[in-house]
Amino acid sequence: MAIIEVVNVDKIYNDSEVKVTALSNINLTIEKGEFTAIVGPSGSGKTTLLNLLGGLDSPTNGKIRVGDVWLNELKGSKLIDFRLRNIGFVFQSYNLIPVLTAGENVELIMQLQGVSARVRKQVAADMLVKVGLADRFASRPAKLSGGQQQRVAVARALASKPQFILADEPTANLDGKSAENLLQIMEHLNRNEGVTFIFSTHDQRVMNRARRVILLEDGRIKSDTLQ
């Protein structure tokens, strides 16, 4: 069974005077272990789609299944708890809590999950090793480069043992080398540990590394290709 199933989803923003149809009739399934890029011009609906997949927002029409749960059946604190235990997030920037060290940022998510302090510390250290930041456990985010911060965010997402990780333009604020480095780490995790990644991007080079590319245009899926 696919870990994500999107059925007839529309997203219409109605809050301002003009009605904006951000997504229209999206149907989509994502399997475990995918490394999928969502691409498209600015305003095509990439962020909107990722927000819906992550349970951060709800569709106007249609429904979305994650694992064996239909997201529309979860509300409020149940939905937050579902995200905590099932979905990893990496945002474009400022992912980390500035007053916590890299290690503590990774630990925090496990603490929210109720993992014991001893295990937390160990896992956080392991995850930072995986993203190549073994020696930065005690560094505050302000002392890390943008690329390092994004890698800590990946480590944090990994530490929660999610079904998949959503990353909205994770490389947008990075220079070419850092972007490349981040992508390599994600690819490595995907290939060797089976971590499912769904990320959006503008960047042609990032796009090229994806194994599946979903192209959005004006809120519709224009193409969905394996490469």
Binding site: D57, I80, R83, F91, N95, I97, V99, L100, S160
Partner: protein, 471 residues
């Protein structure tokens, strides 16, 4: 990584903002505690002055005496009366008094006075006027005395002139007039020697009187001089007498100091033809709190139900003072309210800044799975840490200050002192000791912080994750 620790870290996050918040809380608490302490201290001084120097906490008197304090509204003394009163719990002492208005003259100067017939022994348990016996009076011609070595400087002359006729109970108080202008020790000694006054308090079967110092100054009377008293006696009789002034007292309450004549009870009864009659029995208490006052006066009423006598508390007798204190207290409270209002907006401003700066962070935390309520609690902890530190600092500085000025009251000088004395108050600004009012200032400030917390709490609980992350 406990939430408390996160809160602690956030405390140091924006040092300037934290400093603003903590210091505004600190100053609010400090200011409120000190101001309130001054207020309450001066109220209790006003009350103490009035009660202890004259009124007494409770009076047992003729029912009509309150409205018409004349000799017609007196009552016959009966030895069982003090015994009955003393049996009421918490009553410390009781003293009989006969009180009447009289004219007092010396030479061609005459003044209306309060003639108080007292039992000098029993009175020690009350106003203890003996403690106010004057030992020094600066004579009006002190500056004219020649042969002073070294000669008085103009400044010393000016000070002596300004205090001419003023009396003091001890040398320390007299020396205080030179506080702002240090004076040569030898010269001070000469002044003390030239100002020394003999005098004593009256005894039970004395034939003399003791008068207050401003009155003595006004009438130009010294110890040993005679005082002519004229009044209307009991049932319209004519009362007159000449009495030797055996001592002068300086009453701390300036109003009393202007018009007090103490006479032994029996002498006063003879003078006013009010044999064996009393105006009231003054009652002194072990516990002077408002609650005790009510309890004891009720107890007295019950014990005296068989007599026709009435029981009045100092509050009943002294409506003016009570109202003065109440209205001053109201405006004091209003001022505090204003202060807290200002502090609230200070805190509120920093809180708004904080929330807007951290909206994105809040969004990320809720997105990755932090329950809003947990987030709200960490922010509450943060604000409480700031509040508690501010309050603690406020107490840390404020408590020693109020303790110090409680033990060493500020003595006003110059115009302020004159103003206070004209209003009938001692020119002192003592602070109240530690009390529940101190705790209340802290609680009020913490309440303001909690009020300001409503803003982040609402922002967090109503947080729209998607739009928070976008920012």
């Amino acid at each position: 990584m406990s939430y408390l620790k996160i809160a602690q870290r956030n405390f140091w996050r924006n040092k300037r903002r934290t400093a603003i918040t903590v210091s505004s809380i600190f100053f609010a608490v400090l200011f409120a505690v000190v101001m309130r302490s001054f207020q309450l201290g001066s109220y209790s001084l006003m009350i103490r002055n009035a009660i202890e120097q004259y009124y007494g906490y409770i009076r047992v008197q003729h029912p009509d005496f309150a409205d018409d304090p004349s000799l017609e509204n007196t009552f016959e003394f009966d030895q069982s009366l003090p015994e009955t009163i003393l049996r009421v719990p918490n009553v410390k002492a009781v003293t009989p008094r006969l009180e009447t208005f009289s004219l007092a003259s010396s030479g061609n100067i005459t003044k209306g006075v309060l003639l108080l017939g007292i039992d000098p022994e029993a009175e020690k348990q009350f106003s203890n006027p003996e403690q106010f016996i004057v030992r020094y009076t600066i004579s009006k011609n002190l500056t004219d005395i020649s042969g002073m070595k070294p000669a008085f400087t103009d400044e010393v002359k000016r000070i002596l002139g300004a205090h001419a006729g003023e009396s003091f109970t001890d040398s320390v108080r007299l020396a205080r007039i030179f506080d702002d202008h240090p004076i040569d020790a030898a010269q001070l000694n000469q002044i003390l020697n030239l100002s020394r006054v003999q005098g004593r308090f009256i005894t039970s079967n004395d034939s003399g009187v003791v008068i207050s110092s401003s009155l003595a100054n006004f009438l130009n009377i010294q110890v040993g001089d005679s005082l002519v008293m004229l009044s209307q006696g009991y049932q319209g009789t004519f009362a007159a007498g000449i009495y030797q002034v055996v001592g002068i007292v300086r009453m701390p309450n300036p109003d009393l100091d202007n018009r007090m004549v103490y006479m032994p009870l029996q002498l006063a009864q003879n003078f006013s033809n009010a044999h064996n009659l009393l105006s009231y029995m003054a009652v002194n208490l072990n516990d002077a709190s408002d609650e005790a006052l009510v309890a004891i006066s009720n107890g007295l009423r019950k014990a005296l139900a068989h007599t026709s006598l009435d029981v009045k508390t100092w509050q009943d007798l002294n409506r003016v003072l009570v109202q003065q204190i109440e209205s001053s207290n109201q405006s004091g409270k209003a001022f505090l309210f204003l202060l807290y209002f200002v502090v609230f907006f200070g805190i509120f401003g920093t809180v708004i800044m904080m929330v807007h700066e951290r909206m994105h962070e809040f969004g990320v935390l809720v997105a990755v799975g932090m329950q809003k309520i947990k987030l709200a609690i960490t922010v509450l902890l943060e604000m409480l840490i700031m509040a508690l530190i501010g309050v603690a600092l406020g107490y840390l500085v404020g408590l020693p200050v109020i303790h110090y000025y409680h033990v060493h009251p500020i003595r006003l000088t110059g115009e302020m002192a004159k103003m206070m004395m004209d209003m009938g108050f001692e020119p002192l600004m003592p602070m109240a000791p530690f009390g529940s009012y101190v705790v209340w200032q802290g609680i009020s400030v913490i309440f303001m912080v909690l009020l300001a917390y409503i803003y982040p709490a609402r922002k967090i609980l109503r947080l729209n994750t998607v739009s928070a992350i976008k920012r």
